[in-house]
């Protein structure tokens, strides 16, 4: 382990002191159990956090790209308007490697072309703290490349039986650890424990893709006529849950809302989803993706093909949230494997 120098050991008390220190200066969101299931939630004390190892049902994107945000306030009578950027200092604790990679992709989306000031202002004031995970039966990040991250976070915590190994990814993160957590160099025994955890995790994946990640855009490009789309389209609700739980689905709608005085109003951005019935309906009632099959095909292609051309990266991080949330059990890894098998026959 040549990179030992980047690794620090902090105690459980050091972790709590870190959270407490963050709470003094910013809003803190952490992983908790909600109705027994892993979820992100705003916390007010370190004891509330439980570093849950399986993925949260919803991703952490709402803290950077809220479900609903005001972009503009306007006054019709005075013909005036004022841009609104709602951003404050915040920290997100308990992000898994897939979540951190997803935020990296969102950063690229929202800074590509016209800069999205609302997202970027919020992102610039956000500290990201990662923590270890264990795959459940829907996780397949291993098939998409890395199961771990080397960057994209300020601090990454590996839970040991006692205390944590902390990796720092930015100067900000290193400063926070020094200031609050009382770090020391890890002992060889602690580093061995970390290696053991990593090995156990690597061996715990059950969902896998049957082709390497670099082959996926090509396989999807061959799949336009596949019978898979009609089959999954026939059972899909078009409920948008896959979009809403996805850490890299970033589509939104913008509307002007006017108050009952017919004068003051707000321009509001809300999440939208490409699997919803009205997503591709435009003026005059024309709808260029009328069926659920067409909409699902679009979503899958966005994850594995369309965006890879623009950003040189797949847009699925393998977190499995869409499969987990789907009541009719459309499973993104299984669908992709079907397309892979079809492509071998061609």
């Amino acid at each position: 382990m040549e990179e030992n120098a980047q690794y620090l050991y902090i105690t459980d008390r050091g972790f709590k002191a870190l959270v407490k220190g963050l709470l003094k200066e910013r809003r803190v969101y952490g992983t908790v159990r909600k109705d027994g299931f892993p979820a992100f939630k705003e916390i007010s004390g370190a004891e509330e956090i439980e570093l849950v190892q399986t993925p949260t049902h919803l991703s952490a994107k709402e803290f950077l790209f809220p479900q609903r945000e005001v972009l503009l306030k306007f006054d019709i009578k005075d013909n005036t308007h004022e841009a609104v950027v709602e951003a404050g200092d915040q920290a997100i604790i308990g992000l898994h490697p897939c979540d951190i990679r997803a935020i990296g992709l969102m950063d690229r989306v929202f800074s590509c072309g016209a800069q999205d000031v609302n997202y970027l202002a919020r992102r610039g004031r956000t500290i990201l703290i990662g923590s270890d995970c264990m795959p459940d039966r829907y996780c397949f990040c291993k098939s998409l490349g890395d199961t771990d991250v080397d960057s994209g976070f300020d601090i990454f915590l590996h839970r040991l039986k006692t205390g944590f190994i902390a990796r720092t990814g930015t100067e900000v993160g290193a400063d926070l650890i020094r200031k609050f957590a009382g770090p020391r160099m890890p002992s060889p025994r602690e580093l061995t424990e970390l290696e053991g955890l990593r090995t156990r995790r690597e061996g715990s994946f059950t969902a896998t893709l049957e082709a390497p990640p670099e082959a996926l855009p090509g396989i999807y490009a061959m799949s336009d006529e596949s019978p898979v789309w009609e089959r999954i389209g026939s059972i899909c609700y078009g409920c948008g849950s896959c979009n809403n739980v996805c850490p890299t689905c970033y589509c939104f709608d913008v509307r002007d809302e006017v108050r009952a005085n017919l004068n003051d109003g707000e321009r509001v951005r809300t999440w939208d989803g490409c699997t919803l019935d009205d997503f591709a309906r435009v003026s005059g009632g024309h709808d260029f993706r009328k069926t659920r099959a067409a909409r699902l095909k679009h979503r899958f292609n966005r994850k594995f093909r369309y965006l890879s051309g623009r950003f040189d990266s797949l847009f699925c991080v393998g977190c499995g949230r869409c499969s987990r949330a789907c009541l009719v059990r459309i499973n993104i890894a299984e669908v992709t494997n079907e397309l892979i098998r079809e492509s071998y026959k061609k």
Binding site: D35, I235, Y237, G238, S241, A260
Partner: protein, 246 residues
């Protein structure tokens, strides 16, 4: 904003609890603004005066007597624009539960020896009798949606009816899916716009807004069965709010 003659509006109650009109009256801060824009000439729950001269008619309730059929038809003749207020008016609502029985049985069960004095027909949404221009869904309607609709109406914009399932509102609210919690709901086929209020407060979606425009009811039937409901249970879940699922 230029001055204009306020359009006259009237509110009517049919077979209902009048809770949707109460939801409007509860928008207290906005009421003075609303009254600057429309002149209310008829509103049984809020005022004594009555007039039959109106352009906009808000109708709450389902139609469940011959007399109501005649009355709603008359309202349609007088009004330029008819708005159905709430589940009873838009889908028939809970009142349609009685349609599962013969009308004579219903009268006897509810009114006993006085059943003979009661006249009733199967309950139905108002658009099964008259043309409806706009629907505000829900049991009761949401004050927030009413205010947005009001602003659109008076400004001449097309009001937008949500056409996505309650699952969207649930995810927006950060709820854990009720199926994960071992309960059943009809959210995946039900029109949203309610902010998933029932699920957020620990209950399930009962479907009060009726179906989305293109619901995958077959898929939902399969889901409910897979999670352990019987065929009868599935039918009861899907049919609770009204025979007609707008």
């Amino acid at each position: 904003m230029r001055d204009f003659e306020r359009p006259k509006a009237a509110f009517f109650s049919f077979t209902s609890c009048e809770g949707c009109q109460l939801a409007i009256l509860s928008c207290e801060e906005a009421l003075p603004e609303i009254l600057k824009r429309i002149e209310v000439v008829n509103f049984r729950e809020a005022m004594s005066e009555r007039s039959d001269d109106y352009k906009i008619a808000f109708i709450e309730g389902s139609v469940s007597t011959e007399e109501e059929i005649a009355r709603v038809t008359k309202i349609r003749e007088r009004a330029d624009f008819v708005v159905a207020l709430g589940a009873c008016a838009t889908t028939g609502g809970l009142n349609c539960l009685k349609n599962r029985f013969p009308m004579d049985d219903v009268k006897r069960i509810v009114y006993g020896k006085d059943a003979g004095q009661i006249e009733t027909v199967p309950a139905r949404p108002i658009d099964s009798v008259i043309k409806v221009d706009y629907r505000l869904h829900g049991c009761p309607i949401s004050g927030k949606e009413f205010l947005a609709f009001f602003a659109d109406l008076v400004m001449g914009r097309s009001p937008r009816t949500p056409n996505y399932p309650v699952c969207v509102d649930c995810k927006m609210a950060g709820n854990i899916c009720v199926f994960e919690k071992g309960m059943y709901c009809v959210g995946p086929v039900t029109r949203a716009g309610c902010d998933a209020i029932c699920v957020t407060y620990g209950s399930v979606c009962w479907g009060c807004r009726g179906y989305v425009d293109d619901p995958n009811v077959n898929a939902h039937r399969e889901t409910l069965k897979r999670y352990g409901l019987t065929a009868k249970g599935v039918a009861q879940k899907l049919d609770l709010y009204g025979g007609k699922k707008q």
